[in-house]
């Protein structure tokens, strides 16, 4: 299993649009993908939008992205990319 720290940087946090992109991306991989809040250890299945929304991750929330499976490295890269570009919606 591999793990990487990511941070929610877009203003609205992991809201519907961002969560939809995240889940879309996660579903392209075979690995089991989980997100865990660093503060209270709440976890979510990154392939379930209901689960991801329930993390209620607002801007600034730190998460640990975890992947386990054959394509775990690619999956983690793809997810952390989404976080670092703020789901394509960072204000100028």
């Amino acid at each position: 299993m591999i793990e990487k720290r990511v941070k929610v940087t877009n203003r609205l946090g992991l809201h519907a649009r961002a969560a939809a992109r995240l889940v879309h991306t996660a579903n392209q991989f075979h690995s089991v993908l989980r997100l865990e809040r660093v503060d209270d250890k709440a976890t979510a299945d990154a392939k379930s939008i209901l689960s991801v929304l329930m993390l209620a991750a607002s801007r600034g929330t730190e998460l640990s992205a975890q992947a386990e499976g054959l394509d775990e490295a690619e999956a983690i890269d793809a997810l952390s990319q989404l976080f670092s570009n703020g789901f394509g919606e960072l204000e100028k």
């Binding site: 946090g13 809201h15 519907a16 969560a19 939809a20 889940v23 392939k47 379930s48 929304l53 209620a56």
Partner: protein, 609 residues
């Protein structure tokens, strides 16, 4: 008239939150979006298996419908809105939802409808406890998807009536997919009893450029399809059964409106606002919920004059940690940018903090606001620390609510100074903040001169000042005739407070609903106010009034008002003088009408915010 029962068609005014701009007249089309009823059947093993198949087929059917809706939304709204239905599609395919429903069917041998309802209700309960308003609002998306699957199970497809050309859609709560499915090219406006700025219904209405007012509480129940209705989202107002006079002034206003009604989006940075005779006036925003943040920019507020921080505590008994508050204040500071934001310390009583806190016999005069903070220092200190830290990143000030004299100010300031030292000792970055006093208790008005020497600014809270000055409970309908913002005692207090502040060279911001009515705002300016804070949607209309008057004339009217001995006389003076001096700015229905029985005119209902 087709109705058999005669109905009282008196004009009714309803107030909500304008979430998509426009001012239109139309006829009510009631859309019943209510949830379908679900029964519970107990099945045998074979039947339960069949239920699994039915559930999967329903998911398929729902998926097809959603894909069609998404395509329609993409064509009519553009792809930037279609994500809402991407999220719905993902919810439909969500493993968490599907697996739990399947497990429930198998385990409980229940029918698919019942299983889905139980699982969805559990999910909704979890969402409703989320502290973030935006994410909590996503519960309505889950309910929308649930309803879609339920109707696919029963084979019913929601049918929406064809819209007539002048239809104003009135609903208790409109689901986003209903909004997209309706033939909204023909809808004039949307109103809902529920909802806020971030509801997906509001977002879609903005995308379509259809005026929308939400949060109307109980309008749906009061309407019938076909009723005449005016929706004015600039003022967050809906007028049901408009009178002939109201219709006429609506026609006049829409004829003179230069801005096309279907424009939305952010306006440019506000020009300095001044009266014709060159007196600068600043208009700021009163803000409660993040849902209103967008309005601060849209309506061109000069920063936030009053942030009612107690609205952060959306759940009873749950206090936010210092870090959570820090994040919230940082967002407020970012939003207000260079103009800054004034954060009012929690204005609440014990009932909000401790579940089971004994109820007080007279809460308005009880242990609340700064009194509560001084009694519960940990709550006060946590909030002060969060504000001091956020102030390092933006311009924030603190205002102390419900101060009765200098002792409240001194005790609060000592705590603020103490936390300032402590934070610096801990090596944390803090910002320079100003500390002001809310002047809303009569004793503080009388002692304004001495208070002014030890605070950096005054915030004049007109709502509570009127309530306390006139000893009238503003929530009690029985005494609403006695609640008079234009009471001479209130006006004299406004002058006293401004003069005391001027002598101590500190600024005064008037924040309260009074400032959001153009005529009242002009009276306030006449009394010496130049800095007003109000609900963001009111800013454009107040700005229009301010730019169209001479301050000297407002002062002349105000001085006549100060000589009056009753509220009726003040209202009469305002009405006559405004009509005489500025007939084009203030149509008769925008002016106060004397309320005492001898002057009694057409009854008006003011409900809501």
């Amino acid at each position: 008239m087709s109705g058999l029962l005669k109905r009282d068609l008196t004009e009714e005014h309803w107030h909500g939150l304008g979430v998509s701009e426009g001012h239109v007249l139309g006829r009510v089309l009631r859309i019943d979006n209510s949830s379908s009823h679900v029964y519970h059947a107990v099945l045998d093993e074979a039947e339960a298996k069949r239920e699994l198949d039915r559930f999967h087929q329903a998911l398929q059917a729902a998926r097809q419908q959603l894909l069609a809706i998404k395509e329609k939304a993409e064509n009519e709204l553009g792809s930037e809105y279609a994500y809402i239905f991407d999220a719905h599609l993902l919810m439909l395919e969500d493993r968490k939802l599907c697996e739990e429903v399947e497990n429930y069917i198998v385990r409980e041998k229940a029918n698919a409808e019942w299983a889905l309802r139980v699982v969805a209700d559990d999910l909704l309960a979890v969402y409703s406890s989320i502290k973030d308003d935006y994410l909590r609002a996503r519960g309505s998306d889950i309910e929308d998807v649930t309803q879609r699957i339920l109707s696919a199970l029963t084979g019913n497809k929601p049918q929406y009536a064809n819209l007539t050309r002048d239809a104003v859609v009135v609903s208790a709560d409109l689901s986003p997919s209903a909004v997209a499915e309706l033939d909204l090219q023909h809808a004039r406006a949307i109103t809902t009893d529920a909802g806020g700025w971030t509801s997906h219904t509001a977002i879609i209405a903005r995308g379509l450029g259809i005026p929308a007012v939400v949060g109307l509480r109980d309008l749906y129940r009061r309407t019938r399809t076909g009723d005449r209705i005016i929706v004015n989202s600039y003022e967050g107002e809906v007028v049901l059964h408009p009178s002939a006079a109201t219709l006429e002034s609506y026609q006049r206003e829409s004829a003179s409106r230069k801005i096309p009604p279907r424009t939305s989006g952010v306006r440019h940075a506000p020009e300095p606002l001044r009266t014709i005779d060159g007196v600068d006036v600043v208009l700021r925003a009163n803000v409660e919920l993040p849902a209103e943040f967008e309005g601060v920019r849209t309506f061109g507020a000069r920063g936030i004059g009053l942030y009612r921080s107690e609205f952060l505590l959306s759940q009873e008994g749950v206090l936010l940690s210092e870090d959570e508050q820090y994040e919230a204040y940082l967002e407020v500071a970012t939003l207000a940018a260079a103009d800054g934001a004034t954060i009012r310390l929690f204005d609440l009583g014990g009932e909000k903090i401790h579940a089971g806190f004994g109820s007080e016999r007279n809460p308005a005069l009880g242990l609340r606001a700064i009194r509560f903070g001084l009694r519960n220092e940990d709550v006060l200190r946590t909030q002060v620390r969060a504000i001091l830290r956020a102030a390092a990143k933006g311009r924030l000030d603190i205002v102390l609510p419900m101060v009765s004299d200098l002792s409240d100010v001194r005790r609060a300031r000592a705590i603020i100074d103490d936390e300032r030292l402590r934070l610096s000792g801990e090596g944390k970055e803090i910002g320079a903040i100003k500390v002001g006093a809310m002047i809303e208790v009569p004793s503080a008005v009388v002692l304004a001169g001495s208070i002014a020497k030890e605070v950096d600014f005054f915030s004049l809270g007109t709502n509570d000042l009127v309530q306390y000055m006139l000893a009238v409970d503003r929530g009690n309908d029985e005494v609403s005739d006695w609640f008079r913002s234009l009471h001479p005692a209130v006006l004299q207090s406004v002058v006293t407070v401004h003069q005391a502040a001027a002598r101590a060279s500190i600024p005064t911001v008037v924040c309260g609903e009074m400032a959001s009515t153009p005529a009242y705002a002009v009276v306030l300016i006449g009394l010496g106010a130049t800095d007003l804070s109000m609900t963001p949607a009111a800013i454009p209309r107040v700005a229009r009034a301010v730019a169209g008057i001479k301050c000297a004339e407002a002062k002349a009217i105000a001085s006549t008002c100060l000589g009056c001995s009753t509220a009726d006389d003040v209202e009469q003076t305002v009405r006559e003088q405004f009509l005489e001096r500025w007939p084009q700015l203030f149509p008769p229905n925008s002016l106060p009408t004397p309320k005492s029985p001898s002057f009694s005119t057409q009854p008006e209902r003011h409900i809501g915010r």
